[in-house]
């Protein structure tokens, strides 16, 4: 992660004609959060298949497996955060009050990751080619989301940002880390996606959970 951020930061800050001071912290923080989103989403289609031994041999609540995978990724995230903190210290960026937004922001994003994992997990157990499809989708998402480039490069209110849910998730988490206040629209859109996604995932779960054991 460190090598990736330093190398990309050095080259892309030249490419975008920005100072490293402006570009690197944003890239570092963006990449940190993105890594967590991407790993969770990539693990989703096979979450129940990978835990087949548990599901087939003991009575276990499937949600525990999802919570376990997400908890593991949060721990890895905290581990990676140490390096990002060193980038911030190098550029003398000290946390201000906006950092407090990070807590509700992360909670909302993790809730979103929860339903994504549950939903894709159930579908992935049934349809085995979902894993490679999700994998390439995540790769595309990395390039079309404002991680290696800054949102302001596409101008305000561009559809490129507006239609990408990942951009909202990033705004809720990266902005407070960079001492910026997340946009109101990020809160509203992320909450709406969360409510809709959780409902869909839970309905599918309630309807199909007894079947999953036969699929894996």
């Amino acid at each position: 992660m460190a090598i990736f951020i330093i190398a990309l930061g050095a080259v892309y800050s030249q490419l975008f004609k920005m100072s490293a001071e402006e570009y690197l912290p944003s890239l570092a923080a963006g990449y940190l959060f993105w890594t967590m989103f991407a790993t969770v989403i990539c693990e989703s289609p096979t979450i129940f298949i990978d835990n087949a031994a548990y599901i087939k041999d003991m009575k276990i609540n499937l949600l525990i497996l999802v919570v376990r995978a997400i908890s593991r990724n949060i721990i890895i995230f905290l581990h990676n955060a140490i390096f990002i903190a060193s980038v911030f210290i190098y550029f003398q960026i000290w946390p201000q009050w906006q950092i407090l937004f990070l807590i509700p922001g992360l909670v909302l994003v993790i809730l979103n990751l929860f339903w994504i994992m549950l939903l894709i997990g159930i579908l992935g157990a049934r349809y085995r080619d979902l894993a490679p499809i999700i994998m390439s989708l995540v790769q595309v998402l990395f390039f079309i989301s404002p991680i290696t480039w800054l949102p302001k490069l596409v101008g305000e209110n561009s559809w490129v940002i507006r239609l990408n849910p990942i951009a909202y998730f990033l705004d809720l988490t990266r902005s407070p880390a960079l001492n910026e206040t997340p946009m109101m629209s990020s809160w509203i859109v992320s909450s709406m996606i969360c409510a809709l996604g959780l409902t869909t995932a839970f309905f599918l779960y309630a309807y199909k959970r007894e079947r999953i054991v036969y699929w894996i």
Binding site: Y54, I55, D57, M58, R126
Partner: protein, 250 residues
Amino acid sequence: MASIAVENVTLHFPIIGVGDRSVKNTILNFATGGKITKNSGTMLVTGLQDISFCLQNGDRLGLIGHNGAGKSTLLKVLAGIYHPTQGAVTVQGRILSTLNITLGFEQEATGYENIILKGRLLGLNAKEIESKVDEIAEFTELGKYLNLPVRVYSSGMLIRLAFAVMTALESDILLMDEVIGTGDARFIHKAEKRLNEFMNKAKIMVIASHSEAVIKEFCNRALLLKNGTLFAFGEVDEILSIYQSDEYQN
């Protein structure tokens, strides 16, 4: 008070065809009305057919039958892993199933950590495990090996550890797929004693086994399965003689 009531349980396994496991094909089918790819469809296989019986405190049930007769499937239905397609299973009491005793071991964690992990997985809280951990450690005779990651254990040591944790638990209802056992000649004697105590603690026990000796030794009732149907249910000797008869074997 523990009890199990199984009423008219029928279980179908859905076997999903290979071509039906693909998102791409499903979308393609939907768009073209099935002209491009052929749907291999979902087949239903009957695992259990119309099974009913009741068990009360003190019952020791042996499940017998050929391979594929439905013994393990029935155990999994009792354990709550499979949900019956029709009928109902009513269970009162805490169930413990020993279908896969090494399930949940973390290769990189030490023996002690795995005792705790396994205990938590089986539904104990931190305090309950704390009170059992010394007794488990002592029984395994693994000594200082318990401080090493379990990936360096031999398979015998691993099973010994799993066996010790499993048999330290208390349950109302015990489900076993073949009797668990372990160890070298000396250890097996010790294990047998512990296993007997473990089984005696349970109010109801269900064992699936191919061994008539096991059924005779541990069970007071037997249930004979054939192709997923209940062939006979009753006293052990009576059922074992039916098992041997031509009527069942053909």
